[in-house]
């Protein structure tokens, strides 16, 4: 056997150790056991998330049901006042804008409101008003005494029985301003 062959054999023998390397017996079962163990370790994590999600859902349902119960069912008109968001108080009114036009006349423009259009205060108040206002309450002792007196002597208290009279207001006449005999309204 020459030197080159000897070296080849030595090299092949060294490399064969890589080929014949064997793990300890039962490597397959150890691998599968570790995978199974990892799986069981991962599952409680998922379970924890599931429990947290269920709790959050239960809390959300309870809140929703609680709001539903608090809404009065007898007073239908007032329902909107409860469920609708409270209207914002109207902001400070803007002063009308005075603009001098090119023709020399003075125009008074209503200030443009850039805010979201809001319901008039009266309308809002109507929405907020409950069905029976003021809320029914038992009569006080003074009120009971007054009602008894009214029933007993109806003629002595005409104010209570008389209907309201219509108020007439005279027509307002606004004359144009005149300075030095010249009317400002006339052209």
């Amino acid at each position: 056997m020459n030197n080159d062959e000897h070296l080849d054999n030595l090299l092949d023998e060294a490399l064969s150790e890589y080929r014949h390397a064997e793990p300890l017996a039962g490597i397959e079962s150890r691998i599968l056991a570790r995978i199974a163990e990892r799986e069981t370790r991962r599952n409680p994590f998922a379970l924890r998330w599931a429990i947290a999600f269920a709790c959050a859902a239960a809390v959300a349902l309870a809140i929703w049901l609680g709001i539903g119960r608090r809404t009065p069912h007898t007073a239908a008109p007032s329902e909107s006042a409860v469920t609708k968001p409270v209207e914002k108080a109207p902001g400070p009114t803007q002063a009308p804008e005075v603009v001098a036009s090119a023709s020399g006349t003075v125009e008074v423009r209503k200030a443009a409101s850039r805010s979201v259009p809001q319901l008039p205060p009266t309308e809002t108040a109507l929405q907020m008003k409950p069905a029976v206002f003021p809320s029914p309450a038992p009569l006080t002792a003074d009120e009971r005494a007054f009602m008894a007196a009214l029933n007993q002597f109806p003629n002595t208290m005409p104010v209570a029985s008389e209907p309201d009279k219509a108020i007439t207001i005279a027509e307002i006449e606004i004359k144009p301003l005149a300075i030095g005999g010249v009317s400002l309204g006339e052209k």
């Binding site: 030197n3 070296l7 030595l10 060294a14 490399l15 793990p23 490597i27 691998i31 570790r34």
Partner: protein, 184 residues
């Protein structure tokens, strides 16, 4: 390097796909078929049984996580994962495997065996001292399960380069061995 008929047999086999209901059973099959081969790949890089087994376990955990959908060549794919994980480990401090340094005590001629063992260890040291681009093609070529094409896939180089590097690695090793043998 000549094509290894065993490798083609492995390539021709049906590759189980990990999906659907019987996922764990499929994984078990893959483990049974490839665990030892994956161990050899890891051992080729690490030269340490314990570290190699850790790599094997990590490989199959990754297979379990990612599945094998779309894998055409299971051997090459597993070997690539094992090779890269083993390379990562070579950059970390390794545990010393005492068992690998023990001499077989039941041999008839202990002195002869010891001398031969020294020679083999010298070859291993020379292999370990080689540049990586020559060392890994040579080490992987020692595994019967891998052919040149698969080694090329694992290392990310063309098949022709694999053959060239193996020949060059062997040539360098023989030259260095000849020098050390002559000194003795």
């Amino acid at each position: 390097m000549a094509a290894n008929p065993t490798s083609f047999a492995i390539l021709a086999q049906e590759i189980p796909v990990l999906d659907g209901t019987d996922e764990f059973a499929n994984l078990e099959l893959v483990v049974q078929q490839h665990a030892r081969f994956v161990f050899k790949v890891a051992y080729g890089v690490l030269r340490n049984s314990h570290d190699a087994e850790d790599v094997v376990q990590e490989v199959f955990l990754r297979v379990h996580r990612s599945g094998t959908r779309g894998v055409r060549d299971m051997s090459a794919w597993l070997a690539t994962i094992a090779f890269r994980l083993a390379l990562d480990r070579t950059r970390k401090p390794q545990a010393l495997d005492i068992a690998e340094f023990e001499l077989p005590a039941n041999q008839p001629d202990a002195e002869h065996v010891a001398i031969h063992r020294q020679q083999i260890d010298r070859v291993h040291r020379l292999i370990a001292a080689m540049p990586e681009d020559l060392r890994y093609p040579l080490v992987l070529s020692a595994l019967e399960e891998l052919n040149s094409r698969q080694i090329g896939e694992i290392l990310g180089i063309p098949e022709s380069s694999v053959r060239g590097r193996i020949l060059r690695a062997r040539q360098i090793l023989k030259e260095k061995l000849a020098v050390t043998e002559a000194k003795r």
